[in-house]
């Protein structure tokens, strides 16, 4: 018997995947519908390639975790997906529609991003932090926005803190507000960029539990993280980047046990606890 709903969910997934043909990243048409289909994504700064020919598919309701050493292009990948970086080559299809045909503010409401540094709006209280996007981007009424924001704040365990200012919250609470702010827009894909890397170790778990809750709730997630055990636990599919290129991709167990020399070296370093994990790094 699984000890927790998380394990239960993982087992269910594994059982399903054992019965069904694997539809890993890169699966072409004919597989389950992809909410996000990334093809040949590239990005350069001057002559330096940050991302090169990155392709993967994210199925609806699934979680993709992206791992790799610092500077491998993980954050840049997320920033390309919601167009915070403009100079990205290749194509991204969101539910079959090329994202470059969608206006950037609309796209960012459909592909949400939570960054590692929280970046809550310091002049607004917690509730207003969450309602701002709902009111301005989603054009929701004040009442509806407040109700949805309150519901998401409760879901991330922050009920009762609606009137607090960001600086009155712990780092973990601030990050949970940031997640609620993005998730309340109910985007088709939510991108989480090292959401635990700026937190004290004792606060990491509370945020990881929120992410697991989102994954359990059927939100399509892409999670960039240096926490390899968490990346394996939360994901249906794991993708390893190095030097802006996909080194390995597939179910977490397969990626972790990969024979690819660069993947083996990276995971061995992490297993020894010497993997680089600088707080606040950004590729």
């Amino acid at each position: 018997m699984p000890d927790s709903p998380v394990e239960d969910r993982e087992m269910t997934r594994r059982d399903e995947s054992a019965d069904a043909p694997r539809s890993g990243p890169g699966t072409a048409a004919g597989g389950p519908p992809a909410v996000l289909d990334v093809r040949g994504l590239g990005m350069s700064v001057g002559a330096t390639a940050i991302l090169s020919e990155v392709s993967f598919r994210l199925e609806k309701g699934n979680t993709l975790s992206v791992v790799g050493p610092s500077g491998s292009g993980k954050s840049s990948l997320l920033r390309c997906l919601n167009r915070l970086e403009r100079a990205c080559a290749g194509s991204v299809l969101l539910n079959g529609v090329p994202t470059d045909t969608v206006a950037a503010p609309v796209l960012r409401g459909r592909i949400g991003l939570v960054s590692q540094k929280f970046a809550l709006f310091g002049h607004l209280d917690v509730l207003a932090n969450v309602t701002l996007g709902l009111r301005r981007a989603r054009r929701m009424s004040k009442q509806d926005a407040r109700e949805r924001a309150g519901s998401w704040l409760a879901r991330v365990g922050l009920a009762g803190l609606e009137r607090r200012r960001p600086h009155e919250l712990s780092g973990g609470q601030q990050q949970r507000v940031a997640i609620a702010r993005a998730a309340a827009l109910e985007p088709e894909v939510l991108l989480l960029d090292e959401v635990t890397s700026a937190l004290d170790p004792e606060l990491v778990e509370e945020v990881e539990n929120v992410v697991l809750g989102l994954a359990r709730g059927g939100t399509s997630l892409i999670v960039v993280t240096h926490e390899i055990p968490f990346a394996a636990k939360v994901a249906d599919v794991m993708l390893m980047l190095e030097g802006g290129q996909v080194v390995e991709t597939g179910p977490p167990a397969d990626v972790l046990g990969s024979g690819h020399p660069r993947a083996r070296r990276f995971f061995a370093r992490h297993a020894r606890g010497t993997g680089d994990r600088p707080a606040g790094d950004r590729e």
């Binding site: 915070l84 503010p105 310091g122 309602t131 407040r146």
Partner: protein, 233 residues
Amino acid sequence: MNAIGENLPFLLGGFVLTLGYAAGALVIAMVLGGVLGTADYAVAHRPVRWAIRGFVGLFRNTPFIVQLYIWFFGLPYVGVQLSPAAASLAGLGLYGAGYVTEIVRAALAGVGTEQEEAALSVGLTHWDLTLRVVWPQGFPAMVPALTNEAVALVKNTSLLGFITVTELTLRTQQAISSTFASLPLYLTAGVLYLVVNVLLTVLARRMETVLARRRRGSALNRGRTSRTETANA
């Protein structure tokens, strides 16, 4: 002392004019500078930004007295004759706007890319992020520099006498020419400038304190501030 007493009503009349021109020019400078500074920060269209920077470069990098002469004595050469009052308001207002534009732009830019990207990430347009995220957080940083600008503007009214505006300094000089009591009369004018500028500074400090308290969200005003901001969200 006698010279002061005899000329005080005359000087106070000039002081009222000084306050009027300063207030009018301050409104022009703040509104125009606020709009141009915000546009310089928010508008991606390069020609617009070049035009704004040209305006700032022109009005900030040339002496006020030269600008004032051009407004009053130069424009008639191209068929535009401004009254002393209009030339004074235009001259002081645009000169101040050059500085205010830069103050506003720098304060908005200082809010930082993290806040900008967080706002963009929740689907805000560039104007929404500018007006609802960046401006409220950038404004406290503007207040001290805008206060300096307001004080400088009040003192610059003393040059309006060059185009026949009988403000405080010109009236002081007129009073001196008939009494020869230069030191007491200049001291009197100085005290009047000092009073208005100290008042401006005190008001600005008070505003800084209120803004800082709001940012801290102290227990005292948390409820009121949150209600206001939530209502605006």
